[in-house]
């Protein structure tokens, strides 16, 4: 399978560009499986027009209803004739490396539409809420003609915010009873969201959550003010309005020229990430080398201080 990877990838890219779903699915697998594939794919896609797909990111606590919201929004998103893809990220087990990818359970009944493509991905140890190759996966989807892409991140903590670097619009999903305004400010969520959805709006605590959210959003000074929407994903309440809100946000961003700005910011962030990854692998090599091992055992036996060991190792990098 690995032999002549570049040729295999060009053949698949050609089929993918003609709308072949299986070719797209294979490319997404190669991207995850073959460490060399990402480079080949990116080089070959660089000669094609820039990524023009709209990427809408959905983030929020586990169980807030991200999958159900995406499921409810799919018919709305398809209405204009757009081809809509979903990338859903779930966590990998740090113990076995396996994963249970269950977002699809909530996304049923769309297969009859040839206009919906759903792909589940395991985080495989990444801690930013996405997978290592999400950016390239988005480019592959765009290459396959999928012009709206809905990305579901891992349930958000306080650091899983990679989606901000990839999405044209970030939707933060909350539920009534979710923390107070202190939590909102602390978690940093209010700085990254473009659209805030209070899902399960039929539950108790809606008013308080809305007030807290308005409170903490009022302190922001973004060019385009974030919007609050209220939905009940399972009944469809507020879904059409939410889609309108997302679309208006995207066009406001486009009109203000902010989408291009986000895309170029994305490039530098990606650059930074690949550099860090490179350094990290060098660091692991160093620690596994003879020098690294002897320094580590010196620390363990108390022969040198941490500070001294640190200086020794940094000098070797």
């Amino acid at each position: 399978m690995t032999e002549d990877l570049p040729a295999q990838i060009s053949a698949l890219l050609a089929r993918c560009g003609e709308g072949d779903r299986l070719a797209l699915a294979r490319l997404l697998s190669l991207l995850e499986r073959e460490p060399a594939a990402e480079g080949f794919i990116r080089t070959q896609l660089d000669s094609t027009p820039a990524n023009s797909a709209f990427v809408i990111g959905f983030t929020g606590a586990p169980g807030a209803g991200k999958s159900s919201l995406i499921n409810a929004l799919l018919p709305e998103a398809c209405q204009s004739g757009a081809k809509v893809a979903v990338l859903a990220v779930d966590p990998s087990s740090p113990v076995s490396g396996g994963a249970l990818l269950g977002d699809r359970v909530r996304m049923q009944g769309h297969s009859q539409g040839a206009n919906v493509f759903i792909r589940s991905m395991a985080s495989r140890g990444e801690n930013g809420g996405l997978t290592r190759t999400t950016e390239t996966a988005l480019r592959l989807l765009a290459h396959g003609g999928w012009d709206q892409i809905l990305v579901e991140t891992l349930g958000i903590g306080q650091v899983e915010l990679d989606i901000v670097n990839l999405a044209t619009t970030v939707v933060v999903v909350l539920t009534p009873g979710w923390g107070d305004s202190f939590q909102a400010n602390k978690a940093g969520l209010t700085e990254v969201g473009d659209v805030f959805v209070i899902n399960k709006a039929d539950k108790e605590g809606l008013n308080q959550t809305r007030v807290d959210l308005q409170d903490s959003l009022s302190l922001l000074t973004s060019t385009i003010a974030p919007v609050i929407a209220e939905t009940v994903a399972t009944t469809g309440q507020g879904i059409a309005e939410l889609w309108q809100t997302i679309c208006s946000h995207t066009s406001a961003m486009t009109d203000a020229g902010l989408i291009g700005q986000r895309r170029s910011l994305r490039q530098s962030k990606l650059m930074e990430k690949s550099l860090l990854r490179h350094l990290e692998s060098q660091l692991k090599e160093l620690l596994a080398s003879e020098t690294g091992k002897s320094v580590l055992s010196d620390i363990a036996r108390g022969k040198i201080s941490l500070e001294e060991a640190y200086r020794k190792l940094v000098a070797k990098l």
Partner: protein, 128 residues
């Protein structure tokens, strides 16, 4: 962590609402290092499009209710991705199990050991 992570689709056919079996099997497969894509109760079209979009290496069907529904799903998966192995579990009567095996589907009826199912997954996905 292995780069060549194998992916398995787990689906329920028919309207039998029992989740316990497929959930336990999915857990065991996850713990064995597989990426398991759950789609729950699904119609044949949902199963086929998931098998394509997710580019899985193996399909696991939990068969409840009428065996004909499962056969339709199997036929459609085999027509779309002929190389893709399929295994099945659930309350499958012995005569129906024979029918499924004739279609090239491995059958793990109630009472099967989880370790046997994991072994089968490793063999069918070429991990072992």
């Amino acid at each position: 962590m292995s780069q060549a992570q194998k992916r398995i689709l787990m689906a329920k056919t028919g309207l039998d609402g029992h989740w316990r079996g497929p959930t336990i099997v999915a857990r065991a497969l996850r713990d064995a290092g597989f990426e398991v894509i759950m789609i729950g109760m699904a119609n044949t079209d949902d199963i086929v499009s998931a098998a394509v979009d997710e580019d899985v290496d193996l399909v696991g069907l939990n068969i409840g209710g009428h065996i004909d529904v499962a056969k339709r799903a199997i036929a459609l998966v085999q027509a779309t991705r002929p190389e893709l192995p399929i295994f099945a579990g659930g309350t499958i009567p012995p005569h129906a199990a024979k029918d499924l095996e004739a279609l090239g589907v491995e059958v793990y009826p109630p009472g099967s050991q989880l370790s046997d199912i994991v072994d089968a997954a490793e063999r069918l996905t070429g991990r072992k």
